[in-house]
Symmetry: C2
Subunit: 337 residues, 2 copies
């Protein structure tokens, strides 16, 4: 079996570390592994399959002979380095928002639109974490029932804002319990025992960039430009695992039993829906898992054809690292690399 030369840019970040773990768990066919980062993080050591790897500073030559480059750096880093990596012959799977809405770049969730990897021109974008878990659950319903409207409110973990935000939650919580003050560094407001209705920057239409990602990326991934999406994104004091309260209106009539049946057969979905025994998805249970968990499925009371549900996933795994590695696996499956 052929093995591939793989580079990871941003290997020391919150998502980069999980990428390494996922590559190892899934026994991704790696020939040569190169770990890259900005000058600031270069020199750090990380482990992969029991061996130590030193992170190198990214340079154009870094991508010589690389087959697949997994990027989990910021948008501006990606804007700069993705074209260079492609120029050098690598296929880039990029986790930033830099290329997602570029019409020359496929935006892929393997359970939803795997075939879109086939028209890549060097870069394939990995969607926003909140969007990924939502479309994994909603796409199989859309195929059968035609979704017209999605109203979603998120309960997002701090890990989505990076390693520093995880420290913010820990440090501020410890301080608060002692009656002391602490000011988060990576989050726009206090997070301990609080809710912040603000993720990413605000745009002119008074939505945040995070909220508009849920609108635009959902449409692009599901090939459904007419779906209406009403998003509200909030940060909650949870370390890892995003939760979403989702209401959909469908064109065709839909029942709770049909929804459960569709989701039971949906790839990447686990139905956790036995409320009378206190079984429903929760972030502490999704942490460390690769699937999307759906529960609290109920006939919605606002629409004739409506269903409400509660969707939870590990935002660092399915919401980022796992989805990126799955895209790399698709490249192999379709002989594109």
């Amino acid at each position: 079996m052929r093995k591939y030369n793989v580079a990871i840019l941003g290997a020391s970040g919150a998502v980069g570390k999980v990428m390494l773990k996922v590559l190892e768990e899934r026994d991704f066919p790696i020939n040569n592994l190169k770990l890259l980062a900005s000058a600031r993080s270069a020199g750090k050591e990380v482990e992969f399959k029991g061996e130590k790897y030193k992170i190198e500073e990214v340079k154009p030559e870094s991508f010589d002979n690389i087959d697949i480059a997994l990027f989990s750096a910021g948008g501006s880093t990606s804007k700069k380095w993705a074209p260079i990596a492609v120029e050098k012959g690598a296929i880039v799977v990029d986790n930033s928002s830099a290329w997602r809405m570029d019409e020359n770049v496929p935006l892929v969730v393997p359970e939803v639109n795997p075939e879109d990897v086939k028209w890549h021109k060097g870069i394939i974008a990995n969607p926003n974490c909140s969007t990924i878990q939502m479309v994994v659950a909603l796409y199989p319903i859309h195929k059968e029932k035609n979704i017209k409207r999605i109203i979603v409110s998120t309960y997002q973990a701090v890990s989505g804002a990076g390693a520093k935000a995880i420290e913010d939650l820990r440090k501020e919580t410890e301080a608060k319990l002692k009656g002391e003050d602490y000011k988060p560094e990576a989050l726009p407001n206090h997070i301990a025992f609080n809710v912040i209705p603000h993720i990413d920057v605000f745009l002119d239409n008074l939505h945040t960039k995070e909220e508009m990602k849920m609108v635009n990326e959902t449409r692009k991934i599901m090939h459904a430009p007419d779906i209406k999406v009403s998003p509200t994104c909030a940060r909650v004091p949870v370390f890892n695992g995003h939760s979403e309260s989702v209401v959909i209106e469908t064109e065709k009539p839909i029942t709770v039993e049909e929804t459960r049946e569709i989701l039971r057969n949906a790839p990447g979905v686990i139905v956790e829906d036995d409320p009378f025994n206190n079984i429903y998805p929760m972030p502490i249970n999704a942490d460390g898992k690769d699937e999307v968990f759906v529960g609290r499925i109920k006939k919605d009371l606002a629409f004739d054809n409506g269903i409400a549900m509660w969707i939870v996933a590990d935002n660092l795994r399915k919401g980022a690292a796992t989805n990126a590695v799955q895209i790399a696996e698709l490249l192999i499956k379709y002989n594109l690399v």
Copy 2:
């Protein structure tokens, strides 16, 4: 000025304590104050205006000569004792869910339906906390724009589940930070760094009782039996202050500026909506306040005539104690006591 004999049943609970604070702050005209509880809590001492009061075990005679009885006990306690208090001549303002949907009992939010106290037959019900803060914000919009649908997802604090749930959050958070385990006693699941999509018991329609309160109480308070309400209620690791992500569809066209203007002039509402300066409602800021805070007002993307907003209030105050005391004040204002 006339003063009144006031009894509080459940004076040692989370809401009862805040009732005492609110009565003191608002200088409620009290002649004689009687603090009551079940046998279990009798004998405890609490302070009011610098004086110590001993909590007595509730008995039928407890209500002799009482003008106003504020109940903040459980539903079954209320079912038993409210008729006895009324029989003895008291007017009961009850914070439990026992009487709320009784057609002989007004369900009152003073900013919304103050006149309903006038047809009371001895008992006036105080609504559910999540419902109160939502209708305070939505009713003034409904009057001008006619709300057809409400889709709401809540982010509820543990204080709404009582004093023991507050301890649960503190103890489990302390344990988790040390890498230890703790099992909450008053909550149905783990709360530290988690979200629980489960408040109150599950009903046959797969909604929780808490969720159906938001449907039925909203309609009764707003005199709007046709409004469609889609509720999802979740508990977040916040000590006090409920947050709500709310989307409304109105019959008449509505803009963000109109909504802000209506809410700026609405009783009991404070508009906190300057997102570009990180100003929006958050539970840590609403804690200890009597108003309902509204922000993140944005043109909704799912409905032609739609607005989304973020509503936060102190659930122990406006969601319970303050609203009950305001009802008692209405009784005086309308010469009903």
